[in-house]
Amino acid sequence: MTGTALPLLAAGDPLFAHGVDLAVFVIVLIKVVVVFAALMVSVMLMIWFERKVISDMQSRIGPNRAGPFGIMQTLADGIKLFFKEDLIPERSDRVVFKLAPYLTILPAFLAFAIVPVGGVVTVAGHTFELQLADPPMGILFLLAMSAIGVYGVMLAGWSSGSKYPLLGSVRASAQMISYEAALGLSVVMVVLVTGSLSTRAIVDAQALHAWQWNAVRLGVVPFLIFFVAMVAETHRPPFDLTEAESELVGGFHTEYSSIRFALFFLAEFMNTITMSAIVVTLFLGGPDGPAPHIPHTQWLWPILWFLGKTIVFLFVFVWLRAALPRMRYDQLMDLGWKRLIPISLGWLMMVAGFVIDAWWGLAITGGVVVAGALMMRAFSIGAARESERAIIPPVGVRLWQRPPATVAPGHEESEA
């Protein structure tokens, strides 16, 4: 049992095996620029893709003027935003207001760095991974970036000095921290069966055997929890309470115009792409997939598999937006705190038990069932207390005139 996880721990990009010299640095620079450019282009395509797919689902044509099939529409919109007046509201906190877009866009970029895009290749005597960075703390880095993203949203809304952005950002912060707990708990299970925090090790562990993808191996539940939490983290529909147009205008970026607005928009779609890539990495084997034996193309297949799986998730993101109505805020919080977090905690204990042996696993499963029953009891107690506090006057009786004799014990404090 012990020792299976050990070889994976000593991973890391072989590029840095002999220290950093000029050639290595140039390779790093090329990798960074390529990934950066690819991300920008894919964000552009993603926005176009979303608009096209949604318009198809709504029997509209969608953008079709700029370029073939309207594919340059995003570029046109972006260029247009450069020419727009850059307003800073007079009541805003100017420094924070200007800082917030940076804080939103940077984590969105950085989180992609740990995603393994392909296998290991050798170019001009240098062997390296098709992955920007492979730090031993990859998953922690991902969580850190998603936590920093909250600050950008929070500060943007707070510094605007306006009602709707403030409401939107408070909602966004509460939503993001709520789902971060569920997200973190479902990732713990992946780390548990892999025994490493490196994303490369996680991908390699899933490629060892057929049907060893974490989505299947852990039972489908952690995968689903991660997926729901990821949609909520990126505040995409149906969890887009932060920018609920009908109540909050534009949410936290209402006061932003010009390129600052464009950066928020960019960050949102970049987060969508990054999160799709990460769910593929953690649960669906990343670049793992069957490769036909065609000479000189062995490096290409992992990339194609990775792209294909990621595009599926991008489509699902768009699909959710077209198909589902926005949730109410209390439903959102209930789903996060009362469903996803307890379920992922219980499932984590079960996975840990089954890793030791089947008897432990079965015992813990029984324990989790008992705990679930206790939790349902706690929910009903909480709901009963809540309705006790509420004031519901009987039909036809005016509350403020009710004689003292009819006031139920629980009602007095609320009326006072």
Partner: protein, 171 residues
């Protein structure tokens, strides 16, 4: 630490991109000074006369505090998960105790209604002296609309007493 070099380069590139886009925007954007209406907080065209709220429902703060409990739990879970294969049964029992304690605190929170976000069912009226009943009574001249109105649900309130003491009726 070499493994972090690409991340560093990416940070520099990302900052450069954001800074350059701001520079580009400031060069290309119109230079005129915005009017007072433009820099006012956005309020759908209405001149704002109420400050943005400085107080928020306490539940938001409560959620932030509860989050810290779970976040700390997760912080402890990650190192445990990495070395779980080496720890074996000992690690499992340890984490069961730990998760059990966190779960009990979660049960306490939930049964106190700390995580109930549904709107409270307060049906008090904002302006007790003016209701649709009182308006109907005022206009129609019928002094006692509830006497012939719907039956009273609460058995221990006499309809006449409740109605006779109703305010807002035409003097």
């Amino acid at each position: 630490m070499d493994q972090y070099l690409p991340i560093l380069v990416l940070i520099v590139l990302g900052l450069l991109f954001a800074a350059l886009s701001f520079v580009g925007s400031s060069m290309l954007a119109p230079k005129k000074r915005p009017t007072a209406a433009k820099v006012a907080p956005y309020e759908c065209g209405i001149v704002p006369d109420i400050e943005p709220p400085s107080r928020f429902p306490v539940r938001f703060y409560l959620v932030a505090m509860i989050f810290i409990i779970f976040d700390i739990e997760i912080v402890f879970l990650y190192p445990w998960a990495v070395v779980f294969h080496q720890l074996g049964t000992f690690g499992l029992v340890e984490i069961l105790v730990f998760a059990g304690i966190v779960f009990v605190s979660f049960l306490y929170l939930v049964s106190n209604g700390a995580l109930s976000w549904a709107p409270a069912k307060h049906l008090e009226r904002a302006m007790p002296s003016r209701t649709s009943d009182s308006t109907i009574a005022r206009i129609s001249g019928n002094p006692d609309p509830l006497a012939s109105g719907p039956p009273v649900a609460s058995p221990d309130v006499e309809p006449a007493a409740a109605a006779a003491s109703g305010p807002g009726q035409a003097a």
